[in-house]
Assembly symmetry: C2
Homo-oligomer: 243 residues x 2
């Protein structure tokens, strides 16, 4: 196998519970890939793209990833989440997706909707999470339109998720919902306290942020058919990595 | 309309977030009906069946319920949760289900799987929550088999949810999963502290119970393809009613 076909893997861990979006609560393993085309101001996994984690990156074949998943998770799992960074940068991730499928293992992915890969059609639960203004990123709406259309006609599980930190982000969520009214929408309260090591304090802050988002959403006549969720794993484990 | 066609309604409130199971996070209105064929030891809505709430019961037609939903929720909602008590005791709830559907309003119901009603086929998300040993109730497996079979062949959203308080309950969840391996299963940590009025204390206890259930589930080679969730509304609002 050539070097290009290897996957840049940052970490493999689990089983744990999925903390976000359409797969919330799901027992899953995580494969976190390195590299991102975005650099969100509040990214909670910036070690995947800012150079700080570059010594942890392993270039692995799909088979090696599967072996490592089995070594770490043993016989306890039936689902794998591909996260990043942006996994949709990696064309050859399709090999891993197919390998997992052959083993009867379900797959979920989260990506911002800035790149298309054909293997997205083979994922059981795709979360598209275009980034709101507070991220500092700019949405390529033509690209997002194209990706939404492809996923909608596919029939697998598919949803949009917007992380909300402030009023502008909330308006962005409304805009996304207007543009794609038939796609299930999840709004999620953002974690502004990535450096908070006091879990009790972080929990209070996160819960207050979630309550504000709940109130705002409940009052909205535009966001009627939506789900509002926190980051469950942050409530449980704070800003710790690898859980 | 005859008196028998009226629905015994305990409370109507919302919009709020659904705190549990397959509809977790969903923006929804609640219609809580009175009356239950069970009397679970730890029921968090025992006022629906133990007589303590009988003065609050209103006998309402389906149209009156819809009017009240609109009066309370205004133009902010597109989803209604039917809860109890056990709503599946009420044959005439079907009228309300159809009325909501005609208005383009989605519906969810939670019931223990002890009674069948044809209108269950018209609900968008049915949660069957058979009760584990700690409830003090006995499962009628033949009845549950029948209900699961009808819902499985229907194609709408449908899941099983088991509340877990102790080891026996966990074993019960495993038994249910073995019996219905193809039905999405949610395990949920139970709230043993129904009289706790200190929300901070309740949150710590609830979170510890959820963590224990997460740990137990992660280690299980039988519960591989499951979701583990807390009661999100209890974390937010404690034991308060009507939120």
């Amino acid at each position: 196998m050539t070097a290009e076909k290897r996957i840049p893997v940052m970490e493999i861990f689990g089983p744990t519970v999925q903390g976000e979006g359409m797969v919330i609560g799901r027992k899953t393993m995580f494969v976190r890939t390195a590299g991102c085309d975005y650099s969100c101001a509040w990214c909670d996994s910036s070690f995947t793209w800012d150079g700080s984690g570059k010594d942890d990156i392993k270039l692995m074949t799909a088979c090696e990833v599967l072996e490592e998943l089995k070594r770490v998770g043993g016989d306890t799992f039936a689902h794998v989440t591909l996260s990043g960074g942006n996994p949709a940068l990696l064309r050859h991730l399709g090999e891993l997706v197919r390998l997992l499928r052959e083993q009867g293992i379900g797959t979920a992915v989260e990506t911002q909707g800035s790149r298309w890969q054909d293997w997205l059609l083979e994922i059981d639960e795709v979360t598209l999470s275009p980034k709101p203004p507070s991220s500092g990123m700019t949405t390529d709406w033509d690209m997002l339109d194209d990706i939404v259309e492809r996923l909608q006609s596919n029939g697998n599980g598919f949803s949009l998720k917007i992380v909300v930190f402030d009023e502008d982000d909330f308006d962005y969520a409304v805009k996304v919902h207007r543009r794609y009214p038939d796609v299930p929408l999840y709004v999620q309260s953002g974690n502004s306290n990535l450096n908070e090591r006091d879990n009790q304090k972080l929990l209070s802050l996160s819960m207050a942020a979630y309550e504000r988002l709940v109130e705002r959403t409940m009052a909205s006549t535009e966001l009627r058919d939506v789900r509002v969720l926190p980051q469950l794993h942050t409530w449980l484990w704070g800003n710790k990595r690898g859980v």
